[in-house]
């Protein structure tokens, strides 16, 4: 593998783009070309549209796409959660059926995990799937499902056995969201956006071949999805910057992003917008306040050391060293950063923090930070759950005492949930 180094990869991708990048193609036609070449997802395995590159090499590829102004594979929304889960647990047919259209952007996905009665306790799911001939029949309700209102497919966790301990009775399915048995209702969030939804499943159908892994193996599959989701809190994925570029393929791309990213426009704000912190202190004059200076310095230290810690974890991994605790801490760090940043933005903004909307500071961005930050420590696993995991898995502390052993049927659970 001596020829796979950053320099060779860079010149190879550059050459390929010189020959093939064609802004006059339609977005889907171009992306299909891209998928066939392996440059759409170079860090995926060679058997499934990738080149088996490390993430470091893959970022070299991203740089070259950006430099050439070439559009890469679709990346918005939970599609990558679907992709990693399929790559790890899907069978050959499932991978060939779904992965391509994830990359071309033709299909989008959502994650049907949380339910009114079970959020942190994902394994307490009471949405049921019953096999009837060649179809699974699904009944129940999911909630806080981001992007369900755009999604073509869902990653569904449902109960297939009520008489075994709860983790063993779950199965994981790919469900077609565009069917009569599924009703999606948008939910309005405290920050005014409506990115997540309620999803009602009433005799919704899943063909037998859309079971991922084995019956009863749903928990193991879900863990893959969750692990990826938690890591993604520390990373923001880029994509080629096309703001200055014109041509129909760019228009198509921008339109795709506008729709697919609509649920996520406030995500930078929920992370606290550390990038605005110094600027805000300077433009409001609060930079002269020694208390603000201390808080600003604290925030910068927190956010920089968190970034470097994640990088340290990745560097150790790439050097083939045993995984340290660094990798597990990103999500908890992200919550601390967001909260610290929101406090600082309040202090630097002063009474104008009373305002919201277009005429408030930074066209409402500051106000949006203040009411979006609470999501970080809930979505994708709450801080408390993260701390349990860190304490138990990294520090080796004793597990929580359990009251949910034995057949799921007998486990205490929320009362207002439709019973079986």
């Amino acid at each position: 593998m001596s020829d796979v180094n950053p320099d060779n990869v860079r010149s190879e991708v550059r050459q390929w783009l010189e020959t093939h990048w064609d802004p006059s193609l339609s977005l889907v036609a171009w992306r299909n070309l891209l998928v066939d070449s392996g440059w759409a997802a170079p860090h995926w395995p060679e058997d499934y549209f990738g080149k088996g590159f490390s993430s470091a090499l893959a970022s070299v590829v991203d740089e070259e796409f950006n430099r050439a102004g070439a559009i890469g594979a679709a990346h918005a929304g939970p599609r990558m959660l679907a992709a990693v889960t399929l790559l790890e647990h899907g069978n050959h047919t499932q991978k060939t059926n779904y992965l391509r259209r994830i990359l071309t952007g033709e299909d989008s996905w959502c994650q049907l995990f949380s339910e009114p009665g079970s959020g942190s306790d994902l394994a307490g799911s009471t949405t049921r799937a019953d096999l009837n001939g060649d179809q699974w029949v699904v009944n129940g309700q999911k909630v806080w499902t981001t992007s369900a209102h755009h999604a073509d497919y869902g990653l569904l966790v449902a109960r297939t056995d009520w008489d075994v301990p709860k983790h063993q009775g779950l199965s994981y399915f790919i469900i077609d969201m565009r069917q009569p048995g599924i009703e999606v209702r948008q939910l309005r969030q405290m920050n005014g956006h409506a990115s997540f939804n309620e999803v009602f499943l009433t005799d919704a159908l899943v063909p037998r071949e859309n079971l991922l892994s084995e019956v009863g193996n749903g928990w193991q599959v879900a863990v893959t999805t969750l692990a990826h989701e938690r890591q993604s809190f520390a990373r923001s994925r880029g994509g080629t910057d096309t703001t200055q570029l014109s041509g129909t393929i760019y228009d198509e791309y921008r339109e795709e992003l506008a729709v697919a990213n609509e649920p996520y426009v406030w995500y930078p704000q929920r992370a606290g917008r550390v990038d605005l912190a110094l600027q805000r202190a300077q433009e409001t004059g609060t930079i002269n306040d020694p208390v603000v200076r201390q808080d600003l310095a604290r925030l910068l230290i927190l956010s920089r050391t968190a970034q470097w810690t994640a990088a340290r974890g990745r560097a150790a991994q790439q050097a083939g060293k045993p995984q340290g605790p660094e990798g597990s801490l990103s999500k908890l760090a992200a919550s601390n950063i967001a909260r610290t940043a929101a406090r600082l933005h309040t202090d630097t903004t002063g009474p104008e923090a009373l305002l919201t909307g277009e005429n408030s500071p930074h066209k409402g961005i500051i106000a949006e930070i203040l009411v979006s930050v609470p999501a970080v420590s809930i979505a994708g696993g709450t801080d408390e759950i993260q701390k349990n995991i860190i304490a138990e898995r990294v520090l080796g502390m004793p597990k929580e005492p359990r009251f949910d052993k034995g057949p799921f049927r007998d486990v205490p659970r929320n009362v207002n949930v439709s019973e079986i």
Binding site: L278, I287, P290, R293, Q294, L296, A297, R298, L300, I301, L302, R304, T305, A306, W308, T309, A311, R312, R314, A315, A316, Q318, A319, K321, P325, E326, L329, L332, A333, N336, E384, Q386, K387, N388, I390, A391, E392, V394, L395, G396, M397, P398, K399, E400, P401
Partner: protein, 382 residues
């Protein structure tokens, strides 16, 4: 920048760690902290002769070993983890100072004098605070024949009561310079002071027409670089100590039983330890990155102060939590936790507290943000 230790560095850490573990059980720490000298000369000489620690982080051309601040950080971290009582910090202070002030040959001569660990040296800078700011250095150096005479005082001089040679930063009236003073020089009074952290010995030095040898001038920038090196060294020592406290807290709470279960099974305690792990890991990263930045001579003041601030908070938190999670036994003299707690407390204020370093870091960040804005503006204008 991605930071990862090389295999050689990991091996080097292993050697130092083993040495510290073997030579510095807490029984030994307790004996040494009760002694006047504060360390065991035999162990120190072994360390110097077997590992070659003196001048570790200095270039070969100056008589050093040619390693960098990263290796210096590794040694400090392991010493901090085991609270090894040794004159390593004072030696680092002295060697870093001669490397800045003296010519290459002269520096080599000093380092070879100290290499075996028999002649000991320290650096005396601070008089009021511990910030190494030029305007706070008031001790006067006056030329007399081909020598100088020093008048004034220095405080918080590490191992100042016991070393053979004291390097003193003094004001000649026109500039700051580094001077060498022998321990038995006329007019020098050395008073060991009682320290809350007895594992780190400090002295007050009074100079009255004390003869001194001029080593070289020190610009404010050079003084700043000495300071940055010492901050990075100390920050790395501190994260070693913080990790030791975290480990101790985890170990104890997994064993101690109350209410029919180990106290470590209570979520209040698990969550506190998870929070502490995060804080300690972030501080470790800061200390490693600062050492790397120093090795590459990149944003040294910003990074050194960042690391010192982060390490101060994390070490102190680790001290507080470790005592709290031990309960009553944690407040006894017999339990070892207070040894680290006191090192955490003293390191917190040593070379300036976290609030001072946050401010120092922020000033650098603001300046470089302004610089990059002006350079963009200049580019646009031209």
């Amino acid at each position: 920048m991605h930071f990862s230790f090389s295999d050689d560095q990991d091996q080097f850490r292993g050697v130092i760690a083993r040495f510290c573990r073997d030579k510095s059980p807490t029984s030994q720490v307790r004996t040494l902290m009760a002694s006047d000298l504060g360390f065991d000369p035999e162990i120190w000489q072994q360390l110097c002769q077997q590992v070659g620690l003196v001048g570790l982080h200095l270039p070969e051309a100056q008589g050093g070993s040619g390693f960098t601040a990263v290796e210096l950080g590794i040694v400090m971290e392991e010493m901090g983890r085991h609270l090894l009582c040794s004159p390593f910090l004072s030696t680092v202070m002295a060697s870093t100072a001669v490397a800045q002030a003296a010519g290459a040959d002269e520096c080599s001569t000093y380092l070879s004098r100290w290499a075996e660990g028999k002649e000991l040296a320290t650096l005396a800078v601070c008089e009021t605070d511990m910030h190494f700011e030029p305007h706070n250095i008031l001790l006067k150096a006056t030329p007399v024949d081909d020598e100088y005479r020093l008048n004034g005082h220095k405080r918080y001089v590490v191992d100042g009561h016991s070393v053979d040679v004291i390097l003193v930063v003094a004001d000649t009236g026109s500039q700051l310079a580094l001077f060498e003073v022998a321990h038995n020089a006329a007019g020098l009074t050395r008073t060991g002071v009682e320290t809350m952290d007895a594992t780190r010995k400090l002295a007050q030095l009074d100079f009255q027409d004390t003869p001194a040898v001029f080593i070289g001038a020190l610009s404010p920038a050079q003084l700043g670089e000495i300071y940055n090196t010492l901050l990075v060294a100390l920050a790395n020592e501190m994260i070693g100590g913080a990790q030791a406290l975290l480990d101790a807290a985890v170990e104890y709470t997994k064993l101690r039983v109350q209410f029919g279960r180990t106290v470590g099974s209570f979520q209040a305690i698990k969550h506190r330890l998870a929070d502490l792990l995060l804080e300690v890991e972030l501080a470790k990263t800061a200390a490693y990155q600062a050492a790397q930045a120093l090795a590459e001579q990149r944003n040294t003041s910003e990074m050194a102060s960042l690391a010192k601030a982060a390490a101060s908070e994390a070490y102190l938190q680790a001290g507080i939590q470790c005592i709290q999670l031990h309960g009553g036994i944690g407040f006894t003299w017999e339990n070892d936790t207070h040894l680290w707690f006191k090192r955490a407390k003293s390191s917190e204020v040593f070379f300036g507290g976290p609030a001072y370093h946050r401010e120092r870091m922020l000033q650098q960040i603001i300046e470089s943000a302004a610089r990059s804005e002006t350079s963009v503006a200049e580019e646009i204008n031209t």
